[in-house]
């Protein structure tokens, strides 16, 4: 099936699906400041920035916040790709569905070099999350 857009180019949302699918572990915190700060640090890297171009980061608060990233995570949760069903809703679990969806429908939108960069992004994102969690 084709995505709704008539072209085959990937979007930032596709890149986020890829990033989440390629994380070294399948659990990340749900805390907004951690997620958005970690993503914002990726945007500071010139190799990664182009994958996140559709997000506008708002730096008016003590942490950068991207409204559309927040909505994308909500939508991934609503469609069963992420779940936050541990007792305190403190962690997202990356569901097998997200891996399957990425493999089947999204992965081919990226070139091999882009996929390699996405994997690096995923690793850096996870490291940043761990660092930020350790600080809290």
């Amino acid at each position: 099936m084709l995505p709704l857009a008539q072209n085959q180019k990937w979007t930032t949302f596709d890149a986020v699906k890829g990033l989440l699918a390629m994380l070294p572990e399948d659990r990340i915190p749900t805390r907004t400041p951690l997620l958005h700060q970690a993503l914002y640090r990726l945007v500071q890297n010139t190799n990664f920035k182009k994958f996140l171009n559709d997000y506008v980061f708002d730096n008016r608060s003590y942490f950068p916040f991207a409204r559309d990233f927040d909505t994308d995570l909500t939508n991934l949760e609503m469609s069963g790709h992420l779940s936050a069903n541990n007792p305190g809703f403190t962690d997202y679990t990356i569901q097998p569905k997200l891996h399957k969806t990425f493999e089947k429908y999204t992965k081919d939108l990226f070139s091999p070099e882009e996929l390699e960069t996405l994997k690096k992004m995923a690793d850096v994102f996870f490291e940043e999350l761990e660092k930020l969690q350790a600080q809290t």
Binding site: L4, T11, D54, D58, D70, M78, T90
Partner: protein, 511 residues
């Protein structure tokens, strides 16, 4: 890069926008010195009681620029569902001024040792309250959802910020030469400092040297929220419980992440949680009620029709073609509705009259976690992802509506078929609100979410209450519902359950 909607003809530059604002202000802001006020006034607000206005404030309030807010419904089209929500942006503006006064006075009273807020600060922030909704158009957020996706906002949005579109328009109004000139005259005549640049920054929420001042008008529990939560819940008849008195006597100033911020003491955490939950309940029950969403889609359909058929609306000598967000400032709710009586275009007449006389679009289909069954290998996320307010997702939803319309055999105007996927409110405020666990030296404020994960729980509530819809004229629910089922199942590999129809009182189509 996600595609932009190519059908929008918009003002391409900031210069063009500024010219349009000047033209608008020429019509809505009198010459400096024309409006005078000799003494203060007292206005009685139906919710909060007495609001005292200073002469300088009256000189702004008595201009068409502010008076037009009387004709703009605060909660858009919700009065067609909640009949008492006829309150306007005008009384909300007065209410916000009062809440600024009360919050400010509480801060001065309960921070006696370090008076970092003064009465003249409160006076300045009252001006911010007075101006904060100048950028709203007809039916408030309903028109903001239309013009807010225009590409112009990508170029005029202040860097490193993402304010609401109407806040950006307000910002540019305050920065305009004509408004500045008017303001300077008032400031001089009444010997009142009106630091417009600072006020504009407060409204848009820019980082300032005094974040606690900004937070009185643009913050996690600012005067704007305090007014609209109470006002909207009161007039919709939904009793929401927020212990506002407790909030006022627990507000403090404290150092948070290197800045002086508005915080509450530990016993103020409860009213803050109530505010967050109230906001989510208001969203799910009022702002995103299916009939309210249907009526806002109808308003969007009116504008869409006028744009596609190139039917301008004339106000004075100005032709409104909806190409620029400023076009929306020229009219109010009543003017767009009365255009239905004037226009010679029959279809447009009907579209407007359907809204005016409450002949609302109805649900052909409900989209939620409980009305669809995800199948192996489904592409549902490619649909769900468009519950967003940007031009790409808006175009995708309209394209989908077109497909449903074509599948149903063009039974009505395209502008009467809508795929509506409302965006849930973000609850970032729970992370951005700080509580002082004890008023003891050395105690560091913690975020509200650290005390109790309010934001996360409110988010789960919203997630489970979320509904998307396919709307259509009442007599077409069966054929449109059937067409929508076919299109969504084919495109996204899901199964629409009978509940999607039964819950909107439609017989499910035979499989």
């Amino acid at each position: 890069m996600e595609e932009r909607s190519k059908s929008e003809e918009v003002s391409a530059s900031k210069d063009q926008l500024e010219l349009e604002i000047e033209e608008f202000l020429e019509a809505y802001l009198p010459k400096p010195g024309t409006v005078v006020a000799e003494s203060p006034k007292v206005v009685h607000d139906g919710l909060w009681g007495t609001v005292r206005l200073d002469p300088a404030e009256i000189c702004f309030l008595d201009t068409p620029l502010l008076q037009r807010l009387r004709q703009i419904h605060q909660t858009g089209c919700s009065y067609l569902t909640y009949p008492s929500t006829t309150h306007s942006r005008f009384e909300h503006t007065l209410g916000v001024m009062l809440q600024v006064q009360k919050l400010g006075e509480a801060l001065i009273k309960y921070n006696p040792r370090e008076r970092r807020l003064s009465t003249s600060d409160i006076q300045q922030i009252r001006f911010a309250a007075l101006f904060h909704d100048l950028g709203h158009g007809p039916f408030s957020h309903a028109s903001e959802e239309i013009y807010g996706i225009y590409p112009i906002f990508d170029s005029i949005r202040p860097e490193n910020t993402n304010p609401n579109p109407h806040e950006i328009l307000t910002y540019y109004i305050l920065k305009s030469p004509r408004f500045k000139e008017y303001c300077q005259r008032i400031s001089s005549d009444y010997q009142v400092p009106i630091p417009l640049d600072e006020i504009a920054n407060y409204i848009i929420g820019s980082k300032t040297d005094f974040p606690f001042k900004r937070e009185l008008i643009n913050g996690p529990f600012d005067a704007d929220k305090l007014d609209y939560l109470f006002r909207d819940s009161h007039f919709s008849g939904l009793p929401l419980s927020v212990d506002l008195d407790r909030l006022f006597y627990t507000v403090r100033l404290a150092e948070v992440k290197g800045e002086t911020r508005l915080v509450v003491t530990h016993s103020g955490a409860t009213p803050l949680e109530q505010i967050l939950f109230s906001k989510m309940v208001l969203f799910t029950s009022v702002y995103q009620h299916h009939k309210v969403r249907a009526s806002e889609c109808m308003f969007a359909g009116i504008i869409e029709y006028m744009k596609e058929k190139n039917i301008p609306m004339k106000i004075k000598n100005k032709e409104l073609k909806w190409a620029s967000p400023i076009d929306f400032l020229w009219i109010t709710d009543a003017e767009i509705l009365s255009f239905g009586f004037e226009t010679d275009y029959t279809e447009l007449h009907d579209l407007i009259h359907n809204l005016f006389f409450r002949r609302l679009l109805k649900r052909a289909l409900i989209i939620s976690l409980r009305t669809i069954e995800l199948q192996e290998g489904d592409r549902w996320i490619e649909f769900q992802r468009h519950a967003k307010k940007n031009s790409y997702s808006s175009k995708v939803r309209r394209d989908l509506a077109r497909e449903i319309w074509e599948r149903a055999g063009h039974p009505c105007l395209l502008q009467e078929i809508w795929v509506d996927l409302p965006q849930l409110p973000n609850l970032k405020a729970a992370e951005d609100t700080f509580v002082l666990p004890a008023e003891v030296a050395g105690v560091v404020p913690v975020s509200l979410n650290d005390l109790f994960p309010t934001g996360i729980w409110a988010h789960q509530y919203g997630l489970n209450k979320w509904r998307g819809h396919v709307f259509c004229p009442p007599h077409l629910r069966k054929p449109v519902g059937r067409a929508a089922k076919e299109v969504l199942e084919e495109k996204f590999g899901i199964r629409i359950l009978p509940e999607a129809f039964l819950w909107c009182k439609v017989d499910p189509p035979a499989d």
